[in-house]
């Protein structure tokens, strides 16, 4: 029977080349057409895809056995050449996603169905990285002049941007950018399909209200995201329901720990004092935020990573209890009984109810005498300013994707700024022990040890309130009643698990 699934998301994919962008929505969508060597399953566990097995030859050499009998949509066979060319393309100097596979030095073809990856050092997260790297057909790339990554400089359109040829469960039928992308089921897929779709019609609808209207009026079957505040209405409407669960993305606030406040009314920087940071922490009533602003859908966080992420530790996830009296006491102790003024930057289009959460926080901080001057703006400006250190507190959400590992937080946000490390630590938090642990975790292949070291590092940072964790923002999708989809905490819709009744 015909089963067409009409799917509306907030934005469109950036193009058809999964190696031309780091946007996780685009990459995930294109993974319906292309496939990686290994992939996440419904439980977000890694499982074989184009590779059937792998073994560690040396700490820095990993060998993958490839699946046989797989065909690309144009009919050509999948072999080791394809893997070699695809991986080299992804890590080419000009590749925009070079950073997604940082350790790869070279790929060696052992035979038609075996390859070896040579790394710059032990890389415990290699498979996590590989889930994000699509495999192209080598001949197809050669024929269409696509061996090198699409280069924005050249000024010509890459063939791969407008055409697709993968091994995945769906084939591209047509695409109109920003209007419609149509996929049809790939009859010759190597895997046994769990879905029963014949066709996927994807439309981007950026306006929340319009997207909801489209679902309510029956013009689409699935929307992601579905605005939290409309959940009641959607659930209450006949034929539609809401899918909600806590997501991977942890929302947190960064503290400026440089020598001066960006916009303060006191000398020096009170945030350098851990007591002040803790006071801020204690002054914020996340239960209220969850119940009112997040409509009970969020999961308050004590850690900077979500439970699904390796490195998570239930013990560390307890929040310090909300306590304004204690907060005031701490402030007084630190020498600011009357509080002080600083600025707080928030995006207004990046996270679920981001602006509202920040407004609520300012109100709460005001109650302990802290005067946070709220600046909210679009994400491009927000992140720019945050990174340039123009904010005393700013909001950041981190899902650890594509790594899906606590190391992501440690290396980017807790390690002091240093080369590839601490890239998202503009506040300048620095703890020698944390730095040391982070570097060790990077090359530790023993999973138990890694976990233990991560827990240690997280514990330190938590005690020092290096960042202020808020919550995992909820995933909120909505579907028509006859549609079944799998909702994973990474907020990515994998339609090869979707079914229409």
């Amino acid at each position: 029977a015909e089963h067409t699934l009409r799917y509306a998301s907030a934005g469109d994919i950036y193009g058809l080349d999964p190696q031309s962008t780091t946007d996780s929505f685009s990459i995930n969508f294109l993974m319906h057409i292309y496939e990686p060597l290994v992939r996440y399953n419904r439980e977000l566990k890694i499982e074989p895809a184009l590779a059937t097995s792998w073994e560690i030859v040396k700490p820095d050499v990993i060998r993958y056995k490839l699946r046989q009998g797989v065909k690309f949509h144009d009919g050509s066979d999948f072999t080791a050449d394809d893997v070699v060319m695809s991986l080299m393309r992804a890590t080419d100097d000009k590749s925009p996603i070079k950073g997604n596979l940082p350790a790869l030095k070279s790929v060696e073809k052992i035979d038609d169905y075996t390859v070896e990856l040579h790394l710059s050092g032990p890389t415990p997260l290699l498979n996590n990285y590989l889930t994000n790297i699509a495999i192209f057909d080598a001949q197809w790339l050669e024929k269409n002049n696509g061996v090198k990554p699409v280069n924005a400089e050249v000024g010509e359109e890459g063939y791969t941007t407008t055409h697709a040829n993968g091994t995945g469960p769906f084939k591209l039928e047509s695409r109109r950018p920003d209007a419609q992308t149509v996929l049809t089921a790939n009859e010759g897929w190597w895997d046994k399909p769990e879905h029963n779709l014949t066709k996927i019609v994807h439309t981007p609808i950026s306006s929340d209200a319009t997207r909801v209207a489209a679902l309510l009026s029956g013009e689409v079957d699935v929307i992601t995201p579905s605005p939290l505040q409309d959940a009641k209405r959607i659930a209450g409407s006949p034929g539609t329901k809401v899918l909600e669960s806590p997501g991977l993305r942890t929302i947190m606030m960064n503290f400026n720990m440089r020598d001066k406040l960006a916009d303060g009314n006191v000398e020096g920087n009170p945030f350098k004092d851990a007591r002040v940071r803790k006071a801020v922490y204690l002054a914020i009533n996340m239960d209220l935020v969850r119940d009112k602003i997040m409509r009970g859908k969020s999961r308050n966080a004590g850690m900077l990573v979500a439970p699904e992420v390796p490195g998570f530790d239930e013990k560390l996830n307890q929040r310090f209890p909300y306590d304004t009296a204690a907060a005031k006491a701490l402030l007084a102790e630190a020498g600011y009984p009357d509080g002080f003024q600083f600025n707080m930057n928030c995006p207004n289009d990046a996270y679920v109810n981001d602006e509202e959460v920040c407004q609520a926080m300012t109100a709460m901080l005001a109650q302990v005498g802290l005067n946070a001057k709220l600046v909210t703006e679009g994400r491009t400006l927000h992140f720019k300013k945050a990174q340039e250190g123009q904010a005393d507190m700013f909001m950041l959400g981190w899902a650890t994707l594509p790594m899906l590992d606590g190391f992501s937080v440690l290396s980017a946000m807790l390690h002091s700024p240093e080369g590839k490390l601490g890239t998202w630590n503009p506040g300048g938090y620095k703890n020698a022990k944390v730095d040391e642990l982070t570097k060790k975790i990077d090359v530790e292949l023993d999973e138990a040890k890694r976990r233990q070291m991560m827990a240690e590092a997280f514990a330190i940072s938590e005690e020092e309130v290096a960042w202020l964790p808020l919550h995992q923002q909820p995933l909120s999708w909505a579907v028509r009643d006859n549609v079944e989809v799998v909702q994973t905490p990474d907020d990515l819709l994998r339609l090869w698990y979707a079914r229409i009744k």
Binding site: D208, P227, A262, A363, G378, A391
Partner: protein
């Protein structure tokens, strides 16, 4: 008739054709009352509002999303209910109105003053000055106003240091709306100035030896202000709407200092969710405001147009 005292003038105004035509137009009278009321509410917002929406310390999320007081679950302390941040809708509405009107009036005044001055100079002085002014006007006119406002807004925001952006948001908006709108005034005034300049009373002043600046300001200006008044009235409504639209595009007033437009933009997201009061009340207020202003502008145009009498 030509009593110079204040009451005399008042009486002669009450006796004038303008006032007569005003009294005769019922819609205009109603519109004026509505506008006067809204302006009154805006000016005295700090006194009238039951709560201070800017006093964030007074907010308690527990009180968020209360419906209007007459509805079930409503709280009499919040006549029109509260928003998702527990702000009193009535109070933020009054303050929002205040800001919208402030932006509207200020940008109209800016545009009018600039436009009248440049129009006078262009029309009266002519030559290079005129050419330059009119070319700039052409460029501005050759471009949709809202995009120009976006451009100016972008530049202004860039120039200002980060920590002043919110406090300067009003100024930025006023500048971007004002700077896009002066062209109409300038063109109108320039046109009338070209006509007035040829008039014999100007020539008379010149034969006497009155200086050009004085002629421009004391002779010509009072005679070209009629159409400016009409334009200004109609533009007031447009400016308030433009602010709302800019807010929709993300460059309006910040949520911490909401204008009516911002309130609507934010409330718009709750249109499906049943919290209708956060969007309906600001929208209705804005609609009444713009409608009233437009009706008055309409009437004024007809009343001041000698050809239509």
């Amino acid at each position: 008739m030509s009593d110079t005292s204040f009451t005399g003038r008042l009486r002669s105004f009450a006796d004038s054709d303008l006032f007569y035509s005003f009294r005769r137009s019922k819609t205009t009278v109603i519109a004026s009352i509505a506008l006067a009321l809204l302006v009154f509410l805006a000016v005295f917002a700090p006194v009238i509002s039951p709560h201070n929406p800017f006093d964030i310390a007074g907010l308690n999320l527990l009180d968020s999303e209360l419906p209007p007081s007459w509805q079930e679950g409503g709280n009499p302390a919040y006549l029109l209910g509260t928003d998702t941040q527990a702000r009193d809708v009535l109070s933020s509405l009054l303050y929002g109105l205040r800001i919208s009107l402030l932006v509207g009036f200020a940008s109209v005044i800016l545009a009018a003053v600039l436009g009248v001055f440049l129009g006078l100079v262009g029309g009266f002085v002519g030559g290079i000055a005129d050419a330059i002014i009119m070319r700039i006007a052409d460029v501005l006119l050759s471009f949709p106003a809202i995009l120009v406002a976006l451009l100016i807004n972008g530049v202004m925001r860039g120039i200002l240091p980060a920590n002043q952006q919110d406090s300067a948001a009003i100024v930025v908006l006023v500048l971007s709306i004002g700077l896009t709108n002066w062209v109409q005034y300038a063109r109108t005034v320039r046109g009338s100035t070209l006509v007035e300049r040829q008039r014999e009373y100007v020539q008379a002043a010149r034969t006497i030896g009155v200086g050009p600046l004085r002629i421009m300001l004391t002779h010509i200006m009072p005679n070209v202000l009629g159409p400016v008044l009409v334009l200004a009235t109609i533009n007031l409504g447009m400016a308030v709407l433009t602010e709302a639209t800019l807010s929709f595009l993300g460059v309006g007033m910040p949520a911490t200092q909401p204008s009516l437009g911002t309130l609507i933009r934010v409330g718009n997201e709750y249109l499906f969710s049943g919290i209708w009061w956060v969007v309906i009340f600001p929208s209705a207020t804005l609609a009444v405001l713009v409608l009233a202003v437009n009706l008055i502008g309409d009437w004024l145009r007809d009343a001041l147009n000698p050809k239509l009498r």
